[in-house]
Symmetry: C2
Subunit: 672 residues, 2 copies
Amino acid sequence: MAPHPFRTLNLEETRIAKQVILASHPDVVVDFREIFLQEPAKELMKEYLALEHSSTPGQSPTSKRPPRLAKCQYDVIGSDKIPEYHESIVDVETSTQVKHEVIGKDTQASLTMWEFDTLIEACQRSEEFQKAISEFKFPDGFELVIEPWPYGGLDLGSENRRYFQGLCFAQDTRNKNADSNFYAYPLPLIPVLDAHKKEIVRIDRLATGGKGDSLTGQTHSERVLDHCQSAEYVPELLPGGTRKDMKPINITQPEGTSFTVTDESLVEWQKWRFRVSFNPREGAVLHDVHYDGRSVLYRLSISEMTVPYGDPRPPFHRKQAFDFGDGGAGNCANNLSLGCDCLGVIKYFDGVVVGSNGEPKVHPNVICLHEQDNGIGWKHTNWRTGRAVVTRMRELVIQFIITLANYEYVFSYHLDTAGGITLEVRATGIVSVVNIDPGKTSEYGNVVSGGVLAQNHQHIFAARIDPAIDGHKNTVLHEESHTAPWDPATNPNGNFYEIRKTVVERSAGLDAAPEHNRVFKIINPSKLNPLSGNPVGYKFMPPPTQKLLASKGSLQANRALFTEHHVWVTKYRDDELYAAGRFTLQSQHERGGVYDMAKRNDAVVDEDLVVWSVFGLTHNPRVEDWPVMPCDIFQVHFKPSDFFTANPAIDVPSTKNNASVLAGKECCVEKL
Amino acid sequence: MAPHPFRTLNLEETRIAKQVILASHPDVVVDFREIFLQEPAKELMKEYLALEHSSTPGQSPTSKRPPRLAKCQYDVIGSDKIPEYHESIVDVETSTQVKHEVIGKDTQASLTMWEFDTLIEACQRSEEFQKAISEFKFPDGFELVIEPWPYGGLDLGSENRRYFQGLCFAQDTRNKNADSNFYAYPLPLIPVLDAHKKEIVRIDRLATGGKGDSLTGQTHSERVLDHCQSAEYVPELLPGGTRKDMKPINITQPEGTSFTVTDESLVEWQKWRFRVSFNPREGAVLHDVHYDGRSVLYRLSISEMTVPYGDPRPPFHRKQAFDFGDGGAGNCANNLSLGCDCLGVIKYFDGVVVGSNGEPKVHPNVICLHEQDNGIGWKHTNWRTGRAVVTRMRELVIQFIITLANYEYVFSYHLDTAGGITLEVRATGIVSVVNIDPGKTSEYGNVVSGGVLAQNHQHIFAARIDPAIDGHKNTVLHEESHTAPWDPATNPNGNFYEIRKTVVERSAGLDAAPEHNRVFKIINPSKLNPLSGNPVGYKFMPPPTQKLLASKGSLQANRALFTEHHVWVTKYRDDELYAAGRFTLQSQHERGGVYDMAKRNDAVVDEDLVVWSVFGLTHNPRVEDWPVMPCDIFQVHFKPSDFFTANPAIDVPSTKNNASVLAGKECCVEKL
């Protein structure tokens, strides 16, 4: 049986794609970057899904199945040794290349991990770098560590060569532990690599001053690490060890899970039914999300994020990661581990990654799926009879975690028993730091440890919601609540407030307005709720988080136009998946991102449309964020709004959980 | 050993208070309302707590112990039969009345549950009411149910008599189930009781019209319930029963809890140490909250909430509950049940309530205390070595749940391993509804079921935070992040953003400003963090939720001036615990609430101050909120901000949980 059209490309399919590409590029070297599923055109999928949903469960339709396509991203290196970036689409069932595109040199392909190796090697070879490093005297037993980073936004007028930069630290090797935290010892220089020449072409020297010092002043001394201090986080290096008084909490499901997974992609749970896939750019993606046989979403993904830093000292204006576009959230996904990243009964999904030779391998446990209890779901006590009916809120969690050098993000989709969908992001890991002179403080960040300045920055995320509320033709409106004017006839006592509805007629960027309780509704105008008479829909309140702080027209702002609004509504087009555009690495300006999509001024009433939710945090670090920060948690909630004819969780059983016990009556009482 | 000064008054102490009151009021009838702990003056407690924290653990200081005082609230009924409301304070160790106050007749005492009985009896006796009800023809087998409510705000010019009102419904008795949901059958009249006369003095007839109908039109027909439909929630009455495919999730702690409870009030867990008490007005209160021997809070409570309705049709302008001031959150607390309201290993605390005769009895299981896992606490993967260190976020939850007629609130305080404190409110229960004519819709709410209009309303909460950040003298400031102007010398690339700090110098109301990432910090200006040089503190971002919508100067707005701002900072005074003032029942204007406290314009820099957080939701009901609404969840997070010298959770062990298993490998595999 052919894989479902939404299923992640498997090893065999990936290998076919590789071979087709190699065959179509004879006599040159092909360096692969990515090979992953090119999702079918939506028009084809609509037909296929309609058939699928009307056929016997478990039977995939054989007709109308769109071709299995692979998107292949690779460099072609000819006799001039200069890599040229190509993208092709390969039909892996017919082994044919169906599209081939040579990408212009004014954009840069996403980075690959093996490009990082080039940086390290070039630093080792670079006399200039070695000399620069030797100007510093390390404490005894400390060794250099270079952390490769994307170069960041390209300054106007710079030649668009392919650059990488290295953040430099020193690691204490005396404890013979490769996980000793080198971020606690930042060095104030950055080698810059020309990736095509494979040479260090410049060394940026970083200011280490504090308040009142100039932006470019080189105040650092030879013994620049002497005032830094150890900040370990691996348990065996903690000076006091780990705490001993935390007793285990076990989560068990003795009767098994309430979900089923078929074909490694179809998940069914508590009336929900959806497909999950994984790709190197977006990580986990949900497709064709249905509830009780009714369509809710066509696709749900985290599309992009940007992390600009607010330190004005060059080169930190270039310090701005696009973690999805630059390197790929899927590429950076952790291989998750039972009993650590999630508790309970866990189903893992694997991804597929390719090496530079195009050979695919399994990227194991990149998604975890599990159920969890989220407290009381609904409750009512009849005070007359004393009868309390209380049910739990159960959630199904689809989670992936990415590591980007020092930093971690935990992304998850939560489907719940009340028909809700929650997007959650947890930000954790090690904040990005630079060296600061002894005794100084800075307007550009917070001194979180001796010699360590954690720079102020923002994280701004874009989620992409491709709705299909009882069908593909939907409309977005926002609803506000406003104080009504006093009026003897309509509001004699001043307590009336009116609800104002505004339909989004044309593709546009829109903002949160919590002061008016602005709620966005995605509705199907053709289908009315039989009780309320309102169109069926889902609603969300965009988190009214601070937008990008970088000045309008600045490099940081130009690269991330998607941050200009909290909500975007665009008309659907195939392949428009990325909020900041296809190419973000070294970009000077967002191209083909959601700003451009909205600018088309498309009619979006009763149309196939896409909603983008942009939210984030301004992160001015606390000392408590060091050395590894406790998770900061963000959630966006999508809730049915007159989609159903009652609380969909009303039939959740109010069964007493028999495993719960009184404190002091647990099986192995120790304290109480 | 005498009880700790913060411990809830016990049965014996309560009984002594009752006897002292009875003895001080001979020859009259005393009808008790409440007897509960009068907390000691803070100046006395400071001395006591200083001693307590410096003495051997487990040893209570014997000197400096403040007296145990009981606040007694009661009606005195003399020969004129008109109750007069008194409040007294009794020293229960010396059996002496230390304060006695006759409350003026322009305010009304909080209601008691037994006053509700009077309403039902008066309705039964009232010919006018019986006649009014008989104008309606009920469906076969339906019987009248009267739901007593506070009268609401007193219209200007009305005589301030003590009123109650009854919302009328009909219950289907054919299914012989006392928990059949009568709210699905609302009747359009409201009897009004004069509580002192014990007579129905008026019947308000409710409009049942829709869009375009006048505010007062009596459009309802004789068969006003015929278009209503059953909306059951108790499992045995659900037409399709409950779902069968939800497998249990068990949460167990085989080695016991990580917390200890001493003296039924002192809780110690993961470096946290605090006292918990319970009183009839605020429910659960935390006192003297310390972390690792350092003071964080003197007291934390939910102070008040108001629920105004936006339906302009009289008498709904009076529909505005003050659930803490009117009836008492503690009085309305549910008796919690193992395996239902919380899972895992649970410690319950009891409260004490008095009857009208002053006789106390135990109000069992009003607070539950348990630990829970809240997902990943912090994580970092060293991508060089592949070593992932991941810890869980553990929380200690102190929860109480209140039922107010149709509606439920779940309040909880969460202390976590990262030094954070989260206030959580879940809103659930049955939305308040009125009858609407067949086929109509309304601007005042949503038709959630046949004949049932769920009216638009707001819930606005006030939490009271009495901080003691490393001592009692604290300062509040707010910090904003702002785009800095372009400047060749200070901001050459436009990426700089500056942090602006504003100290709150005088008591005031202040607002959320998420567009500027406004964060409030409560700091101790006398103690600096040794790493950052900043004063030690805790921070919170006030949820920027919509404020009260009722027009300025309206009855609803005047009664709830506390809703004018998201944050209030006031100077501490003993006994100022209630955001909307001591007396809210039938109030026309907030008196002695946080608005008045702020108006004193007290200096609050480096002072003993109180911070109030006001947040809420505008609740325009969905069909999905019927018949029992899924919890809406609100949280306010208080986090250490340069209070510690590192992430306080850095020593949480990253132990793998051995009870977690792969899906398909659980002990009783059924599906996978």
